[in-house]
Point group: C3
Chain length 451, copies 3
């Protein structure tokens, strides 16, 4: 094998490893932003969805997304069979097929994980296992095929370099649907119907997660070249600037609106900037990356507050970060795509601010809407079917006691509930559960709550 191919392979693999570590980042963000009594459940979901996604994406996902097929879906290449020829849509990249698979598989795992945060603290674990397999093995690969697999949006030169739409908005829209089917957490809304803070249990873990995600994004975006090409450095720089701007603007926004620089909002601002720049990281200049990241940081604050107000209870802000900012970032390519960069890429056309007119912006909007419709519709089917069969939400009693003990039989932090030096006997556990039930004030159940 030639040296350039080995260079490309190394780059793709190392990037895949970094993206893999985003699983740890999501686990820490989601655990940190939720309560102790659900922490073991959260991290368990993050482990298992990647396990499920790895196998599902090997069996069918990769074939549906990149296998030879038609404009709507790949129809060959199950279990990586059929050889390189089956995966013409990835022929532009030089690494071995297994390297391409790994890089794409960690992306598929990301999509499933995004959903878990929004549905945290009240979803049945078996339901979660099922839908994470369906999202990473079926829903994500199909719309992914449209864009990266040579499908109908690729033909229209829709630009989504690293997946603002392909990955993040699909996850975000599925999260929205899941949250609607689930209803709000008990206690989230007071008797007056106004949202109340149910703050997460550990900002250090949440921020560790933000750092791990930012770190992983250096694989996510620059790695999407699937090769060692000069632009990887430029992409790393736009990625970093957008994250920085997102964090700063989100902090400033909530400081002005809420009187204090909220820590969680700043962390979500960094992530919003990263999601926002993902589509355009290879197509925009540094100044535009700052604009896009900053705008995402502004929007994410209002979006989180909006969903809170309309009683769509998303404990970690995943719908806003991944759905809303994913869509915005995709549209932003139509505004800011730089002539020299789209020319170098040989695809798409320059953005509106460069006088490129509405051509690219229109295609971007088409993609956002089409993928959004698919993700919303397909997840509605999945969540509807799960709700009608095995059930989507835990009992109110279990929710109050915590999913750790209800779903998994042991607390994530046993000593926080049972005391230090206390054995977890049936009696001590029952006492802890009773204490949880008794300390939980009566709440007006939201209409969405349908256990």
């Amino acid at each position: 094998m030639e040296q350039q191919v080995m260079l490309d392979t190394m780059w793709t693999l190392i990037a895949a490893f970094l993206v893999f570590l985003m699983q740890a980042g999501f686990a820490m963000v989601e655990a940190g932003f939720t309560r102790q009594k659900n922490s073991a459940n959260i991290v368990m979901k993050n482990l298992m969805d990647f396990g499920v996604a790895s196998l599902a994406y090997w069996a069918i996902g990769f074939a549906l997304m990149f296998g030879a097929g038609n404009a709507l879906v790949g129809t060959s290449g199950w279990f990586l069979g059929g050889g390189e020829g089956t995966f013409e849509s990835l022929a532009w990249a030089t690494p071995p097929l297994t390297a391409k698979w790994l890089f794409q598989a960690v992306f598929a795992g990301t999509t499933a994980t995004i959903v878990s945060g929004a549905m945290a603290e009240r979803t049945r674990f078996p339901a979660y296992l099922l839908y994470s397999g369906l999202i990473s093995g079926l829903i994500y690969p199909i719309s992914g095929h449209w864009i990266w697999g040579g499908g109908w949006l690729a033909e229209r030169e829709f630009l989504d370099f690293a997946g603002s739409t392909v990955v993040h908005s699909v996850g975000g829209w599925a999260a929205l649907v899941g949250t609607l089917f689930l209803g709000a957490r008990l206690g989230k809304y007071g008797k007056d119907g106004r949202p109340r803070a149910l703050p997460g249990h550990s900002m250090p873990l949440a921020m560790l997660g933000v750092f791990l995600l930012w770190f992983g994004w250096f694989g996510f975006n620059p790695g999407s070249t699937m090769g060692a090409v000069p632009s990887i450095a430029d992409i790393a720089m736009t990625t970093n600037l957008a994250a920085a701007a997102g964090a700063l603007v989100a902090m400033a926004t909530i400081w002005i609106k809420g009187k204090k620089p909220d820590v969680g909002m700043a962390g979500n601002g960094a992530l919003a900037g990263l999601v926002g720049i993902t589509a355009g990281c290879a197509f925009v200049e540094n100044w535009a990356a700052v604009v896009i990241g900053g705008f995402a940081g502004l929007v994410v604050v209002f979006s989180v507050l909006f969903f809170d107000r309309v009683k769509i209870d998303d404990p970690v802000g995943a719908i806003s970060v991944h759905g809303v900012c994913g869509a915005l970032g995709t549209l932003a390519v139509g505004l800011f795509a730089s002539p020299r960069l789209v020319e170098a890429a040989g695809v798409g056309s320059e953005g509106l601010v460069y006088g490129g007119g509405f051509a690219q912006l229109g295609v971007q909007a088409l993609g956002v809407v089409a993928v959004g419709a698919w993700a919303l519709g397909a997840s509605a089917l999945v969540f509807g079917a799960i709700k009608a069969t095995i059930g989507l939400r835990v009992s109110a009693e279990e929710e109050i006691e915590g999913l750790d003990i209800g779903e998994h039989g042991m607390y994530g932090y046993p000593e926080a509930f049972l005391g230090t030096n206390s054995l977890p006997t049936p009696e001590t556990i029952e006492a802890a559960r009773r204490a949880a039930r008794e300390s939980h004030e009566p709440v007006v159940l939201m209409p969405e709550h349908s256990t």
Copy 2:
């Protein structure tokens, strides 16, 4: 230096860095799976064993393992002296000697760390320092020489690509011996002799550790090529599939047996899959990686329950994950080694399922038994000598109060024991220790407990 050499060097170094990060992974898994009162001691051991291993492996370990010598042991190359010629056994790899050393040194550090988990919550810190030096500087390098240093098992074409036996089973068997010499933790077995759960204090930290280990394994296995060769992509894929299968099967197994999907068991299942595939990651097909990983995930559950029942108290399951699954993974190469892959490697022969007969399986079994006997015997000497001299186990009183305060003079989580906003004065600490002693119910001391 040629570009291919630089490619190989970069790959080897980056892989070494990832393997280094497994130290953090072990620290988090072990801390998460044990109690707050011993958490500072755990992470201190993980830091110091790597410090000790780095210096011991520089001074003597690398020479014993890879230096010119005989079929049993290397006898030259102390302190990396003697130049490249002294290390003929690594001449197949192109990077500078220092890159090879670093990659091998992080492996040596791993072996010592494996032991620490099994012996957690009751081992004297000075004893730990001593045996971690002896394992990484002496025991591990000698059996390592047999296999990777051109010794007698290498001559028989024993196949252990990245160290299921060389690294993991050596650590696992040493852990078994250490645990036998130590005896069970106080309170682990009730008056009726049945095992009781002493759950770890933080599932989020434990799962962070699992993710960091999985991430590090992308250095451990694909990096064992010590060069940028095309197979690194295939190895990364088999590694990932085995981990995924291990997590899923372990979860399913404990769900069926124990009625709940236990979080710790699922995490250990992922690690079992990783340990299991380590020997064969370069020699087996994707489907076989799923089989091996899944089988390791099945076995690890029964193994953990078995050791618990026979009163071998291993707080984190290290004996099962590293010892048992390391041995299994090594044997599995004799079953599943693929003709095309052993041919490409130019070593070993195809496995039983391909009609290769028992030749390779026999060699694999020989290696497992020989290395097992060495590791068990040598660690028995080490632990026996330590027990007879400086002592292996802390006092019962210290064990109840926690090793953090006893060995290191301060809690890992001071506020959990002293209260928030409380100063750690002699008085507050004494009160916390007294409370620990008083809350600890009387236990029947196991016969193994011999302080």
Copy 3:
């Protein structure tokens, strides 16, 4: 672009990513070494200083440091403008300008973060934002220009390979000044004036941070080649040996002096070894790396105890680790620079122990003193101005209640203060604040404390 350039680019980018992750390492070390009530504030500062540094270093910092100018400061290249020619001082490295920028930007972020640890638990958040921008955008780049930007110290062949002085000591001296302006934390000194332990809340997080920093240092030091050259392996090895020696010697020292092997001190010993070897990592032999790292581990213990005694209250030991050991490590190059390595580098001369006389040692001392004077003077201006205007320190009441609630409106660990299953209403929060105030014993305020 040629393959060697792509190799260099990949190496530089990957190293930059690792250095970025040091932000997470600093966040965990600083959070772990401080109290729960300030944990959200700590991690927020670590996120935001990197955001501020990224933008400031893009706008002006990189130009001041590497832009064409005079012996004292760069005067062109704002916002990366002017093209490659403007940055002649980096022409020796082949990667694209954006790769160089990213690698240097993560270094700038490190400097700001160092300060945050020393000033933890009592600094106003707006003040922190302001000075972290000034340090990373102004103070750090100017002295950096002297050494790495072709300035007057570079002309004298001052040797600081990866930044013991450029990065660490600048951060350390700024931390010293900041701490002097702030005064000690309430309760740090008893009525008798003797220092008291205010232990951090989580050794597992702190040690995770140490491991992440050690991991990131494999980017920091070997990455400072900004290219894939053979010496990267040697540099990785000296780096690792120094860290190991630092951890071991610090542990032994505090064990002898303080009767117990203190966990925080051992962690700081590893960091001290890393800081110490940073200047000389490419210029010294392995044995010298052990000596330098070990000496740093020895000194850091005495330094931490010294600053404690003279009432300079540095909660994490940043002044000792980064300032003192940064200076020592820089001087050590004048002692231990190896003839073969300085010859290969084509800069500097051999150290004193090789008979090189005092020439190099003198230059090293000159650089240490000059950069120290600059950092101390410039930070005194910055902190003085901040103290005189927006104020540097929170109120005594807020300090007792914790900066999380005072600066950010919510605890980092809400359940530790409000109880599990308790809503953070105005009433529950007020109760927690009152409890904090009441449990806080009266203290003699230090004269430095000037709120």
